[in-house]
Symmetry: C2
Subunit: 369 residues, 2 copies
């Protein structure tokens, strides 16, 4: 077998090796069934056990209270942009959005198809290099929800404090807090109880692409929705069907369950956050001590999942990225609107990968500086 | 390793063993990449090759003309029920549906959320045991499309002739033909050119659950859609993004591509149809020659994908199904609204599995009759 590389992709991204090995071992025959999970009826006892245990494991990991439902859906975070608006607001209702990067802007764009999407904070002025603060005066009193993107994959920033819905708010309608935590879920502590709804595309810290986790307060399920809403876009139908209203993405849910078990074996989310802080610290400390590399996110807003930085020129960026690739460290190119480099170091990235990257950064600086 | 069973599930269902073996072999390292497809960036060259080749292979297999787009989407056939209505009709427009079973009724139900869904033929009177004919007189002149379910998984019936849109139709609006071919695609000849849109959930003849194939005439992409339509529900956005507007279900697409290649190696769809007719023939001939087993679908409507039958009593049904399970033939229970037994014998089911089933049917009849 060819050597495996260190994959610094922003997503889909590197999975823990023991998870892949387990999936490989059982690929032809899931124990006790004589079939692959790729072929397994979602109405079978074996798959029911898989999805029930995946949910139970996630509930333990994130300390999800009983009055929250956990759903495994399709369509990625992008479909959640729409489902959040269409389930939490009526047509024309007001919704509040924090624009802290690319995906938060897309969420607002989708919300605007359905209602009155108001931007209550933005860091667009500095190309999203920091986490913006809400101006309480401009916060719409009738916002059905406040949406934010907890970790901004493209820019490498994170909400280290949850956004506060201004106290003045709260007239007829309660303003719910909705967090897209696609790229930090299970990688750092997230207080579920302080949210009404959290969603996360799997392909960063959870598992393979093709499944999206939604954690939502059960009282959301009682809210009436527009009759035109497709059944597949209704949280209540998805919850009533235990994420199996129709055939779910069985294999992606199964692999996610293996990842959840692996995170539990590592000591849970607190243990993952500790090692993720250590991994990110190695990179940020080196960047801060160098005048060759420059960090792209403001220090107080820095993500421990996506570390963005640049070299003194675009040519050096490209040369460095190519050198890394030649040494088995791939997908380090920054997103095109940001440039430079981006090292995504989710749970599946071992610290050895980060050390190897820092060593290569040191060496490249010595040669080029 | 435990012995693999013969899995007669209606879906997700048995996949060709060489496909599973290939996926297993490359699970840790897809050749030339150093990563698993489960971890692979959808923006990478390697994944682009995978999705491009999957589409090319499907185009060869189904002889898909250049003026049709091929999409790999999420959400299953159930999301297509809504996407078809919301993309091919404006709010309130008329749509025609043939009710030939459970999924066609659900398609009509989702259509009715968006517009005026008219039933133009139904076999509900005989519990969907046959394919109904359209009454031209009752066909709405302004129907934007006619929707039918090509193969009815639950009841074991198939449209051996495509439904005809009555000649009288065709005023201002053209009536498009939309076929849900989830359970027959690649298992029998389907003339793409006679449809405007075909869709199919993968988990029967295509691959694992979690991806849906949509084949549609490109001129549909030019039709204006309602501004409120979520981006994930817009065929044009999905086509513009080459099925990668957001992260697609990479692994499910990859395994589907392996299945497409396997079907090509078997000699293509014509070869599959030949063996599928042979497999179904073994079962139907035996059932027709027996007064112990009774076929549930009318002979002229019989599916070669799902063979439904019953024994003289519910107790015998259950006893027979349990006997089969003990011999490594699983998921033979009929759907609850139909009862009896159902043998789903998609492309992945080898003829040996069907022979073993018929042998067990013979033996059980001898003992019990």
């Amino acid at each position: 077998m060819q050597d495996r590389v260190y994959n610094f992709s922003a997503g889909p991204s590197q999975l823990p090796l023991p998870v892949l090995e387990q999936a490989q071992k059982d690929l032809l025959c899931y124990p006790g069934t004589g079939t692959s999970v790729l072929e397994m009826s979602h109405r079978s006892k074996a798959f029911d056990d898989i999805i029930v245990e995946a949910e139970a494991s996630l509930r333990r990991l994130m300390d999800i209270p009983d009055d929250y439902a956990v759903l495994f859906l399709q369509g990625g975070a992008t479909l959640q942009f729409s489902m959040v608006a269409m389930n939490l607001a009526r047509q024309g209702d007001t919704m509040a959005f924090i624009k802290s990067g690319q995906f938060s802007s897309k969420a607002m764009q989708e919300g605007a198809r359905w209602g009155n999407a108001v931007c209550v904070a933005s860091s667009e002025d500095k190309n999203y290099s920091y986490i913006p603060k809400i101006d309480p005066a401009s916060f719409p009193k009738d916002a059905r929800f406040l949406h934010f993107t907890g970790n901004n994959t493209v820019f490498g920033t994170t909400f280290w404090e949850l956004p506060q819905i201004p106290a003045a708010v709260g007239g007829a309608a309660e303003t719910r807090l909705v967090g897209d935590w696609s790229s930090s879920i299970l990688g750092m502590d997230i207080d579920v109880k302080k949210h009404d709804l959290i969603y996360a595309g799997a392909q960063k810290n959870i598992g393979p692409a093709g499944v999206t986790v939604v954690i939502l307060k059960k009282d959301i399920l009682d809210e009436p929705v527009d009759p035109l809403l497709p059944v597949m876009l209704r949280y209540k139908a998805m919850s009533d069907g235990r994420s199996m209203h129709n055939t779910p993405p069985c294999f992606a849910i199964y692999v996610s369950g293996l990842v959840f078990r692996w995170v539990e074996e590592q000591g849970g989310v607190a243990a993952m956050e500790k090692i993720n802080r250590e991994k990110a610290g190695l990179l940020y400390d080196f960047i801060d001590g160098s005048d060759f590399y420059t960090g792209l996110a403001e220090p107080g807003s820095r993500s421990i999942m996506n570390v963005t930085f640049k070299l003194p020129s675009k040519e050096l960026d490209a040369e460095f990225i190519a050198l890394c690739a030649s040494r088995g460290m791939i997908n380090l190119k920054g997103y095109r609107t940001v440039g430079g480099c981006r090292a995504s170091i989710y749970n599946g990235m071992p610290i050895e990968g980060v050390k190897k990257l820092v060593d290569t950064m040191k060496e490249f600086e010595l040669v080029k500086h």
